[in-house]
């Protein structure tokens, strides 16, 4: 069942919110020993919230469009009084005194947050193996990684814990795990969804977005979370369309779909190449026109550009974790030693690597050669996307160069791990919306997904294309066991 069906079932008293949450809890209880997708379960809170929804309904009230729907949010989004770990030891014991904007929006819409999901520490990683709370397994093949960094949220949706979940995407952290876990995942336009209460990784790239098993659910969640929020100065103040209305009767007729030839040659996994080609011909059959576009800067320099800007911002954003006010503190006899011990033992290896890289890139004498140059490349990437969108309404490209890899396969090879985001991170650099759409399974049962990218604030166009693809490829089911 998708979220919309659950909400209507509860509204029509076919079943109660408590029953929905109970069944979600039992599914989580039975699969968590294998998957480890949830860092902090919130079962008690969820049940009492479900009861509140049931009470509203019994009193003839409206619990909201997501009334009684179980949801998982990534553990880098603040919830008042609930531990928020970011998958890191350094935040041990910290309970935010406030709710993230998206958490308030979800709860106002009646959603029931049932857990905080596992993630690569501070969202740095592509496999959810860099978590202080242990790795998450891919529900489609538990020997493989779910992707990352929002691997816990992607796995929760794929495993049927919940119909929808929130993740955050700085360089591909929603779209790549969506592809690996066989669900849909959307990174909205930068500035569509408020970042207030999202623990920052790289402020100019971070964006919150939904995972779902249907495009209509995705539109529903986007309607709920994409609000103008004055607390986030980078959040757009313009009015949002009704995304649910935009996808009621999706059509791609007369639209142009851009293909980047360089991206589907080379080292791309053949089954993913096949998925792109199949999607392209299906869109063509639905009345769209396929055109070639070129993104040479993105392909060549996107990755190095990203791996300067993101760590640079992260080095500053993560400086506040010093053990002085909250979280973990390694006691020492003087302040400097306290800083060094706290940060040296509280942060994992990958986070330390990026803090060091970013600190270096911003250091005097290196700033111009690294950070400033990266900003210039970023502008070039923005303008080459703009040129591509003069020819195409959307760009169809891979979400990841590979199928989900095996656990432990890349964990000691950071560069290969970084390559996993080569097709997603240019989209963050340009602030564009990108979506991973599930397109089926390959021969051995691993999921396939493709990425669509649109101009800024054309998120509804992405959803429309995704809706057409979904009507042909079908909705993703849940694993293990299939849909009930």
């Amino acid at each position: 069942m998708d979220a919309a069906r659950i909400a209507s079932g509860i509204r029509e008293a076919e079943f109660s919110a408590r029953e929905v949450i109970q069944s979600s809890i039992s599914r989580i209880r039975s699969l968590e020993p294998t998957l480890n997708a949830i860092i902090t379960p919130l079962f008690e809170e969820a049940l009492s919230r479900a009861d509140r929804v049931d009470r509203i309904i019994s009193e003839g009230g409206n619990p909201g469009p997501l009334g009684g729907v179980p949801v998982v949010v990534k553990d880098n989004m603040c919830m008042k009084g609930i531990p928020t770990t970011c998958g890191s030891r350094i935040l041990e014991g910290w309970k935010p005194p406030y709710d993230a904007s998206v958490v308030s929006s979800l709860e106002e819409a009646g959603a029931v947050i049932i857990g905080k999901s596992n993630m690569d520490e501070f969202a740095m990683g592509s496999s959810t193996e860099h978590s202080a709370y242990g790795p998450t397994s891919n529900p489609r093949d538990t020997g493989r990684v779910p992707g990352g960094s929002s691997g816990g949220s992607a796995a929760s949706v794929a495993a049927g814990y919940v119909p929808i979940a929130l993740g955050s995407d700085t360089g591909g952290s929603i779209r790549q795990p969506a592809a690996f876990c066989g669900v849909h995942g959307l990174k909205p336009t930068y500035g569509l969804v408020s970042r207030w209460g999202l623990v920052a990784f790289a402020s100019s790239l971070d964006q919150i977005g939904p995972f779902a098993r249907s495009i209509s659910d995705m539109a529903l969640v986007l309607d709920v979370i994409s609000n103008n929020d004055p607390r986030d100065s980078t959040c757009s103040s313009s009015e949002r369309p009704s995304f649910s209305d935009c996808i009621k009767d999706p059509s791609v007729r007369g639209k142009k779909v851009g293909i980047v030839r360089e991206f589907i040659g080379g080292s791309l996994d053949p089954s993913l190449k096949g998925a792109i080609e199949k999607t392209a011909s299906m869109l063509e059959a639905s009345g769209a026109e396929i055109v070639d576009v070129a993104l040479p800067m993105s392909g060549e320099y996107g990755l190095p550009c990203y791996y300067i800007i993101a760590p640079a911002e992260a080095s500053s954003n993560l400086s506040r974790f010093d053990g002085v006010r909250y979280g973990m503190r390694a006691e020492a006899s003087d302040l400097i030693t306290q800083y060094i011990k706290t940060r040296g033992s509280g942060f994992g290896e990958e986070v330390q690597r990026r803090i060091l890289t970013g600190t270096f890139a911003l250091s005097s004498g290196y700033y111009d050669a690294y950070y400033l140059l990266a900003l210039k490349v970023r502008r070039l990437i923005c303008s080459e996307f703009a040129r591509a969108f003069e020819r195409a309404d959307v760009i169809l490209m891979p979400a990841s160069p590979t199928l989900p890899f095996r656990k432990g396969e890349l964990v000691d090879d950071p560069i290969s791990m970084y390559m996993s985001d080569v097709f997603t991170l240019p989209v963050n650099l340009a602030g564009l919306p990108g979506i991973t759409v599930f397109t089926g399974f390959e021969g051995s049962g691993l999921p396939l997904g493709v990425q669509l990218v649109a101009p800024r604030f054309q998120d509804s166009r992405l959803l429309e294309f995704a809706g057409v693809i979904e009507s042909w490829a079908g909705r993703p089911g849940i694993s293990p066991g299939g849909d009930k």
């Binding site: 880098n76 989004m77 603040c78 928020t84 970011c86 935040l91 910290w94 935010p96 005194p97 406030y98 993230a100 970042r195 207030w196 209460g197 999202l198 623990v199 920052a200 790289a202 402020s203 100019s204 004055p230 607390r231 986030d232 100065s233 980078t234 640079a312 911002e313 080095s315 500053s316 400086s319 506040r320 974790f321 010093d322 002085v324 006010r325 909250y326 020492a332 006899s333 003087d334 302040l335 306290q338 800083y339 600190t359 911003l362 250091s363 005097s364 700033y367 950070y371």
Partner: protein, 498 residues
């Protein structure tokens, strides 16, 4: 021998902007006397997930100061992050401005020995304040059972940093610069400019140019918490640098801390020197556009500035420079003065009375000058009576006292003080003089017979007249009345002899 030195000083002044809320969150800026950590929220505590939202009022106040300092305004300005670790800085970076400050290239006149000198202003930028650390040990180490406390009430309070060109050449000039700047920000309502409470803070950069062509390195002095400290620290540092240069020793470029108790500057190597602040543009705040219309509107709304007033008082009303300064120092006093003149008082007389009597009333009653019950038009009417000879100074002071105490107008106050409306006419005054002469015949004869060496008896009689009329006429008027009577007596005497 004969090595001579020229002192070169530049000042960095931080003023706390008079906004009600902090630079990036809605918390109150009123931390004086507040319970530690009571004016805080997740944002100014730097909690994870929080994002800054700019308080436009701080931009407006910064612009107002910048325009008064004749700066050019950057129409597109932005914030940077200045990164460093310290427990009073909860995000471990300060949101400040770097390559594109709000304003650059201005100037401010200061007056030194009656001469005006223009001091260049390099830049004015906005930034957030840090919290306040209270150490349990003097060296700030967190050792043993010792601990440090942090109060974040000040964290995120908006500051404008105003940097001067290195164009001040003595401690007196530096002091005068700070006084002028403080007066300006108070005038503009940009800041309360209070040094004791820390809403105006000064760091000084000082170096020496030697007559043999050598330049001493620049030294930055911090912890200057009063004008006195600024002057003393500069004096100390100037002679320290000159001694070293005289001995051929090079000055180390460093930050030194003023120790007010010991009266010396001490090297504070470490915290400041070791830092590479890794400035980069604040990604959480979009660039700020400042519209030309907005700048024009703010420039048009600037009040007359203290130095402009001073010059006008001197030029148009003939005040000397010290009087012109003292009346223009405080905008309220200036307003009182100008309104008094506008309602008809003679400017020099009004200036004297306001500097003495009115400011005395302000001090005695502990009120603001504009809140006195004596209004400028009351003072003006009173002074016109003094000027017209209808009231002596003494009587006028009595009347002013009654006006202030009772909160009543001039004529009521004169009645209450027993002073007749219109004072004493010449006739009435002469009548009193005659009566006094008749009551004191021996003294009167000596005066009339011009046998009064040194006018002793006349002064005595004048005193009796003044007592009789309770100072309700000016000494000049009384003297004129005496003269009138003496002349008529002489005429009579002459008539008799013919």
């Amino acid at each position: 021998m004969g090595l001579e030195f020229e002192t070169v000083i530049g000042l960095e002044v931080h003023v706390q902007l008079a906004t009600r809320s902090k630079l990036f969150c809605p918390c109150s800026t009123d931390y004086i006397g507040a319970e530690p950590n009571s004016n805080v929220c997740p944002l100014c505590l730097g909690l994870p997930g929080t994002l800054p939202s700019l308080n436009r009022k701080a931009i407006d106040l910064g612009l107002r100061a910048a325009l008064a300092l004749k700066c050019s305004i950057n129409r597109k300005t932005r914030f940077h992050r200045k990164n460093y670790f310290y427990p009073d800085l909860p995000k471990a970076f300060q949101i400040s401005q770097y390559d594109v400050p709000l304003a650059v290239s201005g100037s401010m006149p200061i007056t030194i020995d009656g001469r005006v000198k223009n001091i260049g202003i390099t830049r004015l930028h906005l930034e957030e304040d840090a919290g306040k650390l209270v150490h349990s040990t003097s060296d700030g180490r967190l050792s043993g059972a010792m601990f440090s406390l942090v109060d974040y009430n000040r964290s995120g309070v908006p500051l404008a940093e105003i940097v001067s060109e290195p164009e001040l050449s003595s401690s007196e000039e530096a002091r005068e610069y700070v006084i002028s700047l403080r007066r300006l920000v108070r005038y503009l309502g940009v800041s309360d400019g209070d040094m004791e409470s820390g809403s105006l803070r000064v760091d000084a950069n000082v170096s020496q140019k030697c007559s043999d062509g050598r330049w001493g390195n620049r030294v930055e002095i911090k912890n200057l918490n009063s004008l006195k400290a600024l002057e003393r620290a500069l004096e100390f540092e100037i002679s320290r640098q000159r001694d070293l240069l005289g001995k051929g020793v090079e000055i180390i470029q460093e930050t030194r801390h003023w120790d007010d108790g010991a009266g010396v500057t001490r090297s504070s190597r470490g915290k400041e020197e070791a830092h590479d602040y890794r400035y980069f543009p604040e990604p959480d705040l979009p660039a700020i556009r400042i519209q030309s219309a907005e700048v024009d509107r703010m420039a048009g709304a600037l009040p007359e500035l203290p130095w402009e007033k001073r010059e006008r008082y001197a030029k148009e009303w003939g005040l000397n420079l010290p009087d012109a300064s003292s009346l223009s120092d405080n905008p309220d006093v200036a307003e009182f003065f100008e309104k008094t003149v506008a309602s008809g008082a003679e400017p020099l007389l009004a200036a004297n009375w306001i500097r003495t009597e009115i400011l005395r009333l302000v001090n005695e009653n502990e009120v603001k000058v504009l809140d006195l019950s004596v209004k400028p038009e009351h003072l003006s009417a009173l002074l016109n009576k003094v000027r017209g000879g209808d009231l002596s100074n003494t009587a006028a002071k009595d009347v002013l006292g009654v006006m202030a105490k009772e909160g009543i107008g001039l004529s009521d106050a004169m009645k209450k003080a027993g002073v007749r409306e219109g004072g004493f006419s010449t006739d009435a005054l002469e009548e009193v003089v005659r009566a006094i002469l008749e009551a004191n015949p021996s003294e009167a004869d000596l005066v009339l017979g011009k046998k009064d060496p040194g006018d002793k008896k006349r002064k005595f009689l004048t005193g009796l007249v003044m007592r009789e009329i309770r100072g309700q006429a000016s000494p000049d008027a009384v003297a004129a009345a005496f003269e009138g009577i003496l002349e008529s007596r002489e005429d009579m005497g002459n008539a008799h002899s013919h």
